[in-house]
């Protein structure tokens, strides 16, 4: 599928800001199953310095510093993306979850050793006994890993209510587990916590999801939101993604932005400013599917002229 993703953020301050430094993770990753054209980045006021780099996890980071006095900051990123199916999802993989855990600890393959960092606690996802209690029902002795994760994915979807008004960034995982409510970010953290508490490697993936309007209604521009899901590491196979919010395996509708240990590694926009006082925030995300005709006639060479696949 081809999409035009627009992510617009506006911060309005009660006082003036004289200087600010920001970091945005709003440029989608370039992946074997995801090709990206150059993004159009618009920042107002105009930054004195703007640089792109790759972070520790290979995510694309945009740094910008604004030195003009301002009371409103607007960051808009527009990217044309082509997503195809994940290459790994159809291969058979019948190792039990215990075998996977053992391989993680014993296999000297450098990639597997590196994946072990995703077993450890991270700022938003601490291991707790409650998580083990919850995950046990899915991870029975000798159960194939993929089957068990699928079951966990399904249970989170069944047991938890999607409630955008209940949690905030600061709501601890324990509270989400207790109240059985949250948003995609909480469910991803929950799944990650469950897997890590068993000694498995899991990471957080941020991105977008194409939303399909109810039949007969027009698509609302800007009504989409950022999305989040998780991936689990399978020695010999790689990372396999799961979306507990929608009880599905991410496919062509899931556009990948960035990944890390948890949300703290991939926050879309961070900043520190001097002055400013109180601020209010508006975010508008739009995932616009490009019509088939455009895909066919647009010409790949032109659309993805500057694409250089990485990772």
């Amino acid at each position: 599928m081809d999409y035009l993703v627009t992510h617009r953020t506006i911060y309005t301050y009660s006082g003036v800001v004289a200087l600010c430094h920001n970091e945005a993770r709003l440029l989608p990753r370039r992946l074997p199953w995801q090709r990206c054209a150059d993004s159009r980045i618009e920042v107002h006021p105009r930054p004195a310095l703007q640089l792109e780099r790759l972070d520790f996890f290979g995510n694309r980071v945009l740094y910008f510093g604004i030195q003009d006095i301002h009371q409103e900051l607007e960051v808009a990123v527009k990217t044309r993306v082509r997503v195809s199916g994940r290459p790994l999802s159809d291969q058979p993989y019948d190792r039990s979850w215990e075998a996977v855990r053992q391989a993680l600890w014993q296999d000297p393959d450098p990639e597997i050793i590196e994946a072990r960092q995703f077993v450890l606690n991270s700022p938003f996802v601490p291991a707790t006994n409650r998580l083990i209690e919850y995950v046990r029902d899915s991870f029975t002795a000798g159960r194939p890993l993929l089957e068990a994760v699928n079951d966990l994915n399904h249970r989170i979807h069944e047991d938890f209510t999607f409630d955008p008004h209940f949690t905030t960034l600061a709501t601890p995982l324990e509270e989400v587990l207790e109240s059985r409510r949250g948003v995609c970010q909480d469910f991803a953290h929950l799944g990650i916590g469950c897997l890590r508490s068993l000694g498995l490697a899991a990471r957080y993936v941020s991105g977008y999801l194409e939303t399909v309007p109810p039949p007969g209604q027009p698509r609302l521009v800007g009504a989409d939101a950022s999305h989040a899901w998780l991936a689990v590491y399978l020695p010999g196979m790689g990372w396999v993604e799961f979306d507990p919010t929608n009880d599905c395996l991410p496919g062509e509708q899931h556009i990948t932005l960035a990944w890390g240990r948890d949300y703290s590694d991939v926050a879309p926009l961070k900043g520190v400013m001097s002055g400013g006082g109180a601020h209010s925030l508006q975010v508008a995300v739009d995932v616009e599917p490009l019509p088939k005709s455009l895909q066919d006639t647009g010409g790949e060479e032109l659309l993805f002229a500057s694409d250089n696949d990485q990772d």
């Binding site: 004289a18 970091e23 310095l49 972070d55 050793i113 072990r116 700022p123 600061a170 520190v272 400013m273």
Partner: protein, 846 residues
């Protein structure tokens, strides 16, 4: 070798050190190879000291302590709210290290620095040591010192570890072991240097001729290395020392090193990142910074990237490092190799990364993240010291744990084994210390230092030596304090004494410290001036009140002066009603509050605390002698206790006033009369003019029975009695007093003089460029001066009998208050606006 400082009378026979010193049997003693037998390299020193005699040595010890105190050599103790600053203590007997012995330590330290430097670049780059299984990922990725944002900022092939410190201890077999590494911002070299300087001052002869290696060359190498890190302005790079501020435990050292190495002492808020470079906010605008010697934990250096829940530091600093705008030493992220768990892996890493065997062994360490090591730790708990790998974590001595503590600890380890290590418990070597006129063996711990130089690492020929207070107490920690010693690394021949302060480093650009003064320093100098004057005037008022109080004790009369004075001090609780006895005790209580209650805003200890706080923040701008006087003033004020008699206290206050005047006078004489001094002076005179107006109001306007005794008090608390007597000789006359204290511009105690001085100083402050208009503070002081100059002196001349005259004085005072009360805010706004706190767009929970 040195001759004795003082030749004792021939008839006195001194006991030999060897005969009175009793080292323990099962430990290594640095001075004696066995009881009664000196090691050869100690013989020369010991015979010099023996010739001096223990009594004289003790006297020198007291002298050393006095010098340390006078120089304000302190460290701040975090967990001690009563007395946050403790003096550094130094034992007068040096610790000696033979040449050959030191050479092997030197080799070991140099290799270790090279190794950790390579490890650092690998961890923040390709991570081959992890990928190839030399280092378990759990050991690195769980340590808070591993800062992912620093990934790829330490490229291979360069030296990143600039300064490195290693704690060393010697076991009974005579071998040295590394107990741990400091790579974040190694502290203590400055204390070692100051210890050396003070010891040399207290025992000049002994030190002048001693065959010991000098420290100055090492610090010169550090200075040169720092300057060489600059990417810009390589001819004259601007190097700053970044400190967390006066509350940090090692602030003394930061200020000391900044002075010694000629660096600007700055805090994170003094810096700003613009255009990918770092700038120091000064009075004259932004000044580029090329190199930062970092004494702040890296996590707290950049709130944008390094800690989402933090607001301290300089936002954008890491990006400036990344884009080559600034060099930071040690690099951000450097704390990862302090991880004690690494000690278990260093021999293998050394062979793999350097192709060499590790020369300086580390204390035996078992990292519980590996099953066999974890088992070993559990089964040998009694022999080990257990600690978490987190920085600054507590140590648990296995042998001293009771059953509950033991079970609790084992449970914590089992829950997260990779977070713990067990380490062999060493019995450290002992060295002789002077205690109560005798020599006693005390365990010692060394901290050695190295610095990157062109072709490798250079090791300081000396160390910070810490002495444990008791034989059994092995918790020797810089943070908790204790006693230190000077380490002599012996050289074959006497070495020339060199001080960096007397050396020039190549070409220098003449500067006059002016507009490049950091705004924060200007702010603190301004407040130092205010507190200084506030303390002075409060002490005068209290001294006067004590005098009146003494009179009250002798004769019972309604003393209105005392009420006025207590009013002026802000502690009045009018006790004129009630019995003479109850009134007496009420006043006594109020005076005691003023004298001894630090929690009471306006009391002497409270104001003193403000003065010390601001003073410490500008330590590097005050002269040595000013600092000494400030220390004595502190001791003198804090000595005053509730048990003091009124007369006695009054005399002490007299002494304190002399010290406070000396402090102000000396600052005036030693601080260059540029911007810094102007801010100090403005603070001082603004405070004085406000106090004088207050006093006027109380004595002439607010009081019901104004009269001679009250006027006399006003003249004496403003130190004007003599001037008045000389001028008028006759009885006190209010009109004459008003003239002397309000209008006489030649009298430094008059409001007229003070306003004129403020006006002159404010006119010379840095101006905003491109504006022809007067600044807010210029307008305010001009307003105050005009009001005074336009006052109707005729109308004021009948103060004794005319109500109108009194009203006119009141109106004049109120008019003067108006611009003067807003002057302080205007100053802050124009010159100290760095105080703006940075804010996070989103708050990360951590």
């Amino acid at each position: 070798m040195a001759e004795a400082e003082k030749t004792p009378a021939d008839s006195v026979v001194f006991p030999t050190y060897a005969s009175i010193y009793r080292p323990g049997q099962s430990v290594y003693d640095e001075m004696c190879s066995e009881p009664g037998v000196l090691r050869p390299h100690w013989q020369a020193l010991v015979s010099s000291l023996e010739a001096m005699g223990l009594e004289e040595l003790e006297r020198r010890g007291v002298e050393v302590q006095r010098l340390l105190q006078d120089n304000g050599v302190t460290y701040n103790v975090y967990d001690d709210p009563r007395d946050a600053q403790r003096p550094w203590e130094v034992d007068p007997i040096p610790l000696l290290m033979a040449e050959a012995e030191w050479a092997s330590i030197e080799e070991g330290l140099e290799q270790r620095s090279r190794l950790l430097n390579l490890l650092l670049t690998d961890l923040y780059g390709p991570r081959t040591v992890i990928r190839h299984g030399l280092l378990p990922p759990e050991l690195v990725f769980t340590h808070p010192g591993f800062l992912r944002p620093c990934f790829h900022t330490l490229t291979a092939g360069q030296r990143w570890l600039i300064t490195h410190a290693v704690d060393l201890g010697r076991t009974p077999d005579g071998r040295f072991w590394a107990l741990g590494d400091r790579t974040q911002s190694p502290a203590g070299a400055g204390y070692a240097l100051e210890t050396r300087i003070i010891m040399a001052r207290a025992m000049p002869k002994l030190y002048r001729d001693a065959p010991l290696r000098r420290l100055a060359g090492f610090l010169e190498a550090e200075r040169a290395t720092l300057a060489g890190l600059a990417h810009h302005n390589q001819e004259h790079p601007h190097v700053v020392l970044l400190t967390p501020g006066p509350l940090n435990a090692n602030y003394f050292e930061h200020a000391y090193l900044a002075n010694y190495l000629s660096l600007s002492l700055v805090e994170g808020e003094d810096l700003a990142v613009r255009d990918g470079r770092v700038w120091l906010k000064t009075l004259g605008g932004l000044r580029p910074v090329d190199v930062i010697l970092r004494r702040v934990t890296d996590e707290y250096c950049d709130p944008l990237e390094l800690r989402g829940d933090s607001l301290v530091g300089t936002p954008g600093l890491l990006q400036a490092v990344r884009s080559g705008g600034v060099a930071v030493a040690n690099p951000l992220g450097g704390g990862i190799v302090e991880n004690p768990g690494l000690l278990a892996f260093l021999p293998t890493l050394c062979r793999q990364l350097l192709g060499e065997d590790l020369r300086l062994p580390s204390v035996d360490t078992w990292w519980c993240g590996q099953a066999e090591s974890h088992d070993y730790v559990e089964s040998h708990l009694e022999e080990l010291v257990i600690r978490s790998i987190l920085p600054g974590s507590e140590r648990y001595v296995g042998a001293t744990l009771n059953e509950t503590a033991r079970t609790g600890l084992l449970e914590r380890i089992r829950a997260a084994p990779h977070m713990y290590v067990g380490q062999a418990s060493l019995s450290l070597s002992t060295a002789p210390c002077l205690e109560q006129g005798s020599l006693v063996p005390r365990p010692v711990l060394l901290r050695g230092y190295s610095v990157a130089v062109e072709d490798g690492y250079r090791v300081m020929p000396g160390a910070l030596v810490r002495v444990s207070p008791g034989l059994d107490d092995l918790r020797v920690s810089l943070r908790k304090g204790g006693i230190s010693k000077d380490l002599w690394v012996l050289a074959p021949t006497p070495q020339k004494h060199i001080s960096l302060l007397r050396q020039a480093y190549g070409p220098i650009v003449a500067t006059r410290d002016g507009a490049d003064l950091p705004s924060r320093v200007a702010d603190n100098l301004y407040w130092l001036g205010r507190y200084c004057e506030r303390l002075d005037s409060s002490m005068r008022l209290v001294r006067e009140a004590l005098g009146q109080f003494l009179e009250l004790q002798e004769q019972d009369n309604a003393n209105t002066c005392l009420d006025m004075l207590l009013d002026a001090l802000g502690v009045s609780e009018h006790a004129s009603v009630g019995s003479r006895r109850s009134r007496f005790f009420a006043i006594r209580r109020q005076l005691l509050i003023m004298l001894t209650a630090p929690e009471w805003a306006g009391s002497l200890p409270h104001t003193l605390a403000g003065m010390l706080r601001t003073g410490r923040a500008v330590r590097d701008h005050l002269g040595e002698d000013s600092w000494r006087i400030l220390n004595r003033l502190q001791q003198a004020i804090l000595r005053i206790a509730p048990t003091f008699k009124a007369r006695e206290t009054r005399e002490s206050l007299g002494d304190c006033l002399v010290l406070s005047a000396a402090f102000a006078g000396l600052n005036n004489e030693t601080i260059p009369h540029h911007y810094g001094w102007r801010f100090l002076d403005i603070g001082r005179y603004l405070e004085r003019v406000l106090t004088t107006l207050d006093l006027f109001k109380l004595a002439f306007v607010n009081t019901k029975n104004s009269g001679v005794p009250l006027w006399e008090v006003v003249l004496s608390t403003t130190d004007n009695l003599t001037a008045y007597r000389r001028r008028y000789r006759s009885a006190l006359h209010p009109t004459a007093i008003v003239d002397l204290l309000l209008f006489d511009e030649g009298n430094p105690r008059s409001v007229g003089y003070q306003l004129r001085r403020l006006k002159d100083q404010i006119a010379r402050l840095p101006h905003k460029q491109d504006t022809p208009y007067r600044s807010a503070e210029e307008r305010l002081i001009l307003e105050a001066v005009s009001i005074l100059q336009l006052a109707d002196i005729e109308l004021l001349s009948a103060l004794e009998h005319s109500r109108r005259s009194n009203e006119e004085l009141m109106r004049l005072l109120d008019e003067l208050y108006r611009p003067l009360n807003t002057l302080s805010d205007a100053m802050t706004h124009s010159h100290f606006s760095h105080a703006e706190v940075p804010r996070q767009l989103i708050t990360m929970m951590q």
